[in-house]
Amino acid sequence: MKKTKLIKHLVMVTLGLLALGAGGTAYAQYPSKPLRLVVTFPPGGAPDILARIISEKSQLGQSIVVDNKPGAGGNIGAENVAKSPADGYTLVMGTVGTHSINGALYSKMPYDMVKDFAPVTLLASTPNLLVVWPGLPVKNVQELIAYGRANPGKLSFGSPGVGTSIHVSGELMKSMTGIEMTHVPYKGRQFAIPDLLGGQIQLMFDNMPSALPLAKEGKLRALGQTGAKRSPSAPDIPTVAEQGLPGFEATSWFALFAPAGTPKDIIAKINADSVRLFKQPDVAEKLKILGLDPVLSTPEELAKYQQEEIAKWAKVVKASGARAD
């Protein structure tokens, strides 16, 4: 594998030199140097692993360097890409946060989520899982709503921070059902889970991959998933929408974006490369373990989806009164 790459490089370099020698008007074949893929979260999480899968399996012919630039809900990394040259050598692993929720949440965004980026492709999405402390006497979403109505001021829901998809899922439930729940933010889900297991807080719309094992072991009770359809990772758990809240949908998604102005043919090339590699069976297997459902798209489909998401979350965030600066 390595060897073939090396040979490929040598061949390309030789050809390049020949071309230069021949006329000096060599046509610059994209890509001619390594690409940089910015991940707006620290290594180890879902966006990082997705980026590393791309970096490992890409067949663009150049290495893709994963550059973790975490901070400010992903805004630092996204801003970095927004201000990078639009030559096709810089990409960002956009998330539902950096490319739709944050715009409503931060009053001063360091970049424009739509105008500063050229969509490349959607990659994967994952619903959240509504889990409750097992001591709470509810078995499904309807019972939870009834409990909330009967015991106002008793329910608290956790989240890994203001404006995360986990937080706004809870706000969406509040606005759709009118039940009273107190939002309790934490610095990360790993700090919220112990309090949920100990019954300090009663429920959370946790990320599916991390909540599922705890639900399977009976440490938490899963009431419903927040996707429009049941996720292939958990086909037995009904959606929240199925349980009397039609239209309830909150998904975390991951998509590739390039700086605005990146040439169309280059975008098409990266899109084709990603779509091809996410269809490989071993990649699909990895995504399943991560609890991610592959969703691929054309750049245009991503642009349309992003607009819908921006509109939806702007409404929810506004209704909740949440802000982040």
Partner: protein, 514 residues
């Protein structure tokens, strides 16, 4: 008991298992996991020794390289890096007064003073022995009681965390060996610095001046490298000719019989305190070494010696931090909850290898679970064997001329700070804190209480407000929950112990004046 032994033998079996390896066409059967453990321990020690470069950055860099390795091997190596770095961090704290990790801040206080008195070797051995004893005890505790202990941690809600932080902060006053007023001022300054960034509860940005890099607050590494590393180097540059040389008076490398006698009780106390605090996923481990230092200073017969190179001041905290490093694996292994950044990366490593972290790992992958625990014990043993002979070499480092050593320290500090977020802004912050650090030295104010305030402040505020949110605004929650009440009473008692002699002294002074 029998199941424990059976489980541990599964674990040791997994670690020591021979695997075929082909080198140059020849096939060998080698205990590869043992090799990964060794590699992890060595890398961990090295990055621990390099100031600023911590396990988080290292593991993040190594993560892609681990795709090809088997999952148990990866986890063994990563955890080796984690506790190896804790271990190596104390080396720079002692030799050059540079804490690479939160846990080694207090080691600087007495460890560096010991080095100045020519007892660097003794301090390093004490740290090594204390860490080993604590590591073994912590691992055993992890193996025997991981599941029930994880349950205990859930009893610890926001109210309890708040009261624990109050206790910790009052304990921080004890950290300072100089003026009490200055210590309090430094703690308050630390608390204020810790507030910078986005407020967890409301999402409102505080003192960030619209700089996105400040939105998540100032990183601990940047502050520590600034007030310790940069400031130390700069003030040393002032002294033109007779810079401190303490290598010539290095007496002995290994602790004397008397030293052993003095370190025994602190190691035991540090191990117990560290093991308990390490279990708490919400930041208990950060308190371990600070708590142990305060405890030793209060109970020791030699409390006057603290701050001037007391061996207890190295033995206690070093044991506590290593014990906490082991028991902090409990939430990860039993529930799949990573209590810190390093373990979040280990969760990432598990998922890369198709293992879903969670409570089921223990039953579905017993070889992995028990193998990792067994490897921790082996890793601790390797660290001692590796480090005791290295002590001589580290002490030799002190002989490197300053004109070479100091630029190297500054460079490594910068690389380390940069590598945390891959952001050059953090390096500028370090320079700023370096300037502040020089001022602190001029005003004879100690930086350790500042750092503790910096770490505890945000956690304390977060838990106070969370507890109030959950009680719907009722402040009695801190007194009605028994665990919380107990800690508040302890805090009040500690406050009285600190304050009374001061008040008595003041009265004496007034009487004299009259």
């Amino acid at each position: 008991m029998e199941t424990l032994i059976a489980n541990l033998s599964t674990g040791f079996g997994a670690v020591l298992a021979l695997e075929p390896l082909t080198i140059l066409g020849m096939s060998f059967n080698l205990p590869m996991n043992l090799a990964y453990c060794f590699i992890g321990a060595v890398i961990g020690t090295l990055i621990g020794v390099l100031p600023g470069l911590g396990p988080v950055a290292t593991i993040a860099m190594l993560l892609p390289a681990t795709y090809a390795l088997p999952p148990l091997g990866v986890l063994i190596m990563l955890s080796g890096i984690y506790y190896g770095a804790h271990y190596g961090g104390s080396t720079t704290a002692i030799i050059v007064n540079l804490p690479g990790e939160t846990s080694s801040v207090v080691t600087c206080i007495d460890g560096y003073q010991m080095a100045r008195r020519g007892r660097a070797g003794v301090a390093l051995s004490t740290a090594a022995i204390g860490s080993f004893v604590a590591g073994c005890a912590g691992t055993l505790l992890l193996a025997a009681f991981a599941v029930p202990l994880a349950e205990v941690a859930f009893k610890f809600g926001p109210a309890e965390y708040f009261s624990l932080m109050v206790l910790g902060l009052i304990g921080a006053v004890v950290l300072a060996s100089g003026s009490l007023i200055k210590a309090i001022a430094m703690i308050v300054l630390g608390l204020l610095g810790g507030i910078i960034g986005t407020d967890v509860n409301t999402g409102v940005s505080r003192y960030a001046f619209d700089i996105p890099e400040l939105a998540d607050g100032i990183g601990f590494v940047a502050v520590a490298m600034g007030v310790f590393g940069f400031a130390e180097v700069m003030t040393n540059l002032e002294q033109k000719e007779h810079r401190e040389v303490f290598t010539n008076k290095v007496t002995s490398m290994f602790p004397s019989k008397d030293d052993f006698k003095r370190m025994f009780a602190p190691i035991v106390r540090g191990t117990i305190l560290g093991s308990v605090l390490g279990i708490l996923p919400g930041g208990g481990a950060a308190l371990a070494s600070f708590g142990a230092y305060s405890l030793e200073k209060k109970v020791s017969k030699n409390s006057a010696e603290f701050g001037k190179g007391a061996i207890e001041g190295v033995a206690g905290p070093e044991s506590a931090n290593n014990a906490a490093a082991q028991t902090s694996f409990i939430p990860l292994l039993t529930l799949g909850i990573p209590p810190n950044a390093v373990m979040a990366l280990m969760v990432g490593a598990m998922t890369i290898h198709n293992i879903q972290p969670g409570p089921q790992v223990m039953t579905s992958n017993p070889q992995l679970f028990w193998g990792l625990i067994a490897s921790m014990w082996i890793g601790n043993l390797m660290l001692v064997i590796l480090n005791l002979p290295l002590i001589g070499m580290w002490v030799q480092l002190l002989k490197v001329p300053y004109r070479m050593l100091y630029p190297a320290i500054l460079m490594f500090c910068c690389i380390g700070v940069f590598s945390v977020n891959n952001n050059s802004f953090d390096v500028l912050i370090t320079v700023l804190f370096g300037v502040l650090g020089i001022m602190f030295i001029k005003f004879a104010s100690e930086p350790a209480p500042l750092l503790l305030g910096f770490i505890l402040g945000p956690m304390m505020e977060e838990n106070l407000r969370r507890a109030m949110l959950l009680s719907r605004g009722d402040p009695t929650v801190f007194f009605t929950r028994p665990l919380s009440l107990t800690m508040l009473i302890m805090a009040a008692a500690l406050l009285a112990i600190i304050a009374l002699p001061q008040i008595a002294k003041r009265r004496e002074e007034t009487f004299v004046e009259e």
